[in-house]
């Protein structure tokens, strides 16, 4: 029983982390039909930026809880900057090309950004544990969890709710849904698809950067964190159905809790279990669990 609770809490924390990194990817795919490998770079840049800003913030004598603002500021700066630059300067020239080519272009950009990251921050790891130390820890059935990680669950919940409300209750959300459903007809109806695309890409980028920025205090921010996260996010998005936000939620819960179970029960299959679930889901439901139905073209 105790083990079950531990697995559940651990799994929820990991799921929230996965949701944070996967949701941006799925939003971008849903609207633009682009599988964005650069998402891994957004995550890594977000983490580095956040570590730097947190470090700079605690050098000053400002109130301690303001450190959290640094995290969100980092995500906004990185997301808006890279989102606008990449979409306007690169991707918009490729929209008419094959989807594989676009994936590869983002892969190329990912390689480029990996080195840009090293040029800016070097190879030494960064630590920004202050926000985590600030919140302390809590005991759940004799095991200690740090509160900061638990707040991640809350953040993922807020993001999820915010996206859902934004998409279904606001005018902008409805425009977005129209573009997701049929790009050409929406354009014919007078929706400015160019603006929708840029906005979507920026929102997706902010999500990716926020994932990294919020995780930064709990890890040592070092080179290579983007490579790992991108395949994890792919797995989650594919399981849930590409472009579906509820899919990303279910996908991250499924992957997060199974990985937590694997870590506690059979640590040797920890890496393997995620992709095994992905292969299994795809074998049964090729389009993922929540993918919208597609018309067959003859």
């Amino acid at each position: 029983m105790q083990e079950l609770i531990v697995i559940l809490v651990d799994g929820l924390v990991f799921s929230s982390y996965l949701f944070m990194v996967a949701v941006g990817l799925t939003v971008i795919f849903g609207v633009m039909k682009i599988l964005n490998v650069t998402h891994g770079s957004f995550y890594a840049f977000g983490a580095y930026m956040s570590a730097t800003l947190i470090g700079a913030y605690y050098e000053t004598d400002l109130p301690e809880f303001g450190g959290f603002l640094a995290i969100f500021a980092a995500a906004l700066i990185i997301g808006v900057f890279f989102g606008v630059v990449l979409e306007r300067c690169l991707l918009r020239f490729l929209y008419h090309r094959d989807e594989h080519i676009i994936v590869l272009a983002t892969f190329a950009m990912f390689l480029v950004l990996e080195d840009v990251l090293l040029m800016i921050w070097g190879t030494d790891p960064y630590y920004a544990f202050e926000p985590m130390a600030l919140l302390g820890s809590v005991d759940i059935v004799e095991l200690t969890f740090d509160v900061y990680s638990l707040t991640l669950i809350g953040l993922a919940g807020v993001v999820c709710l915010g996206l859902w409300l934004g998409l279904t209750k606001t005018k902008w959300g409805k425009l977005l849904l129209a573009v997701i459903f049929d790009r050409e007809i929406s354009q014919a109806m007078g929706i400015n698809v160019t603006v929708v695309f840029t906005a979507t890409f920026v929102i997706g980028a902010i999500m990716g950067a926020l994932g990294g920025a919020y995780i930064a205090p709990t890890i040592s921010v070092s080179p290579g964190i983007g490579v790992e996260v991108i395949v994890l996010a792919f797995a989650v998005v594919v399981i849930g159905g590409m472009g579906s936000i509820p899919g990303a939620l279910i996908g991250s819960l499924l992957v997060g809790i199974s990985r937590a179970a694997a870590v506690h029960k059979f640590p040797e299959i920890e890496l393997f279990v995620i992709y095994a679930i992905m292969a299994l889901v795809l074998a049964i439901r090729p389009e993922g669990l929540f993918a919208p139905a597609q018309a067959r073209k003859i």
């Binding site: 989807e99 594989h100 892969f107 190329a108 480029v112 950004l113 990996e114 590409m242 890496l271 292969a279």
Partner: protein
Amino acid sequence: MRYVDKTVIGLSIAFVVLVFADFFMAEWMRFIGLQSLARGAVALGLLVLWRTGLVSFGHALYFGFGAYTAAMLTLIGFHDAFFLVFAGTLSAGVLAFLLGFLLRRYRAIFFALLNMAFSMILYGVIVKTEELGSTDGFSLGPPTFLGYAPEGEAVQTALFLFTLVFTYIVTVGVHLYMKTTLGSMSMAVRENEIRVEYLGYSAEKVIHVKYVFSGLVAGFGGAIIALAIGQVDPDSMANWTVSGEFVFITILSGIGNVGATYIGALVFELIRTYAFEYAPQVWQFILGGSLLAIIMFLPDGIWSLFSRFRKSEG
């Protein structure tokens, strides 16, 4: 007058020239040559798939599987290159045949990603297996060739010749195969699968055949690289970035001609080797930058340079 195939002649000339060059080449050139031949072979498999309209982001699975099969066989005392490469190729082919039953039902991005999922499973298994050296991998001794056991530089010379002969046969074979009915079906499947079915062919079977072929050559490439480097490790053999590199080579080469994959692989190796040697801090930057440049300015790959040149001439 009999029709003479220009590509076969071109490949044969290149083959003969390289066989002679093998005995005069500097060691580093031979090493780059070996890498290019092996990676070019993998890209050849991807090219066949690409002509069918499919791109795989997971062929590091077969590459790594071939490499690790060959390497593991050396652990139990086999050292003959013919046997090791044959085993690596065949094992990857069998794996592709089995997974093919599932994968042939998928298209577009799902095909690409399901491949990646399988390759990451292999990666996960290797990383977690302490007996195979985990993330460090393990090294294997120099190969022998049907009893001939060269030493020092002669190993690479022999291996280069060995690789050259096999890649030549495979490449000419693929080129001729593309002209047969089943081969030209590739383009038809890519253009319109449902019409292919109406004409009485099975699109899934066509795809399955290409898939097994691509698995075989990827396994071949992997086994050769394992022997050439004398070391296997998961990050340079089975990680998803390796699959990305193979797709990179295919884009670099373009799908115009089978020989182009080797030129593409050579260009890739040169970029990587020199970028790594002269600018180790920014080699990924240079690699990614050149890939972007190719995508933006040379959408049909390096081969399109040749055909452009020919057009302006005639």
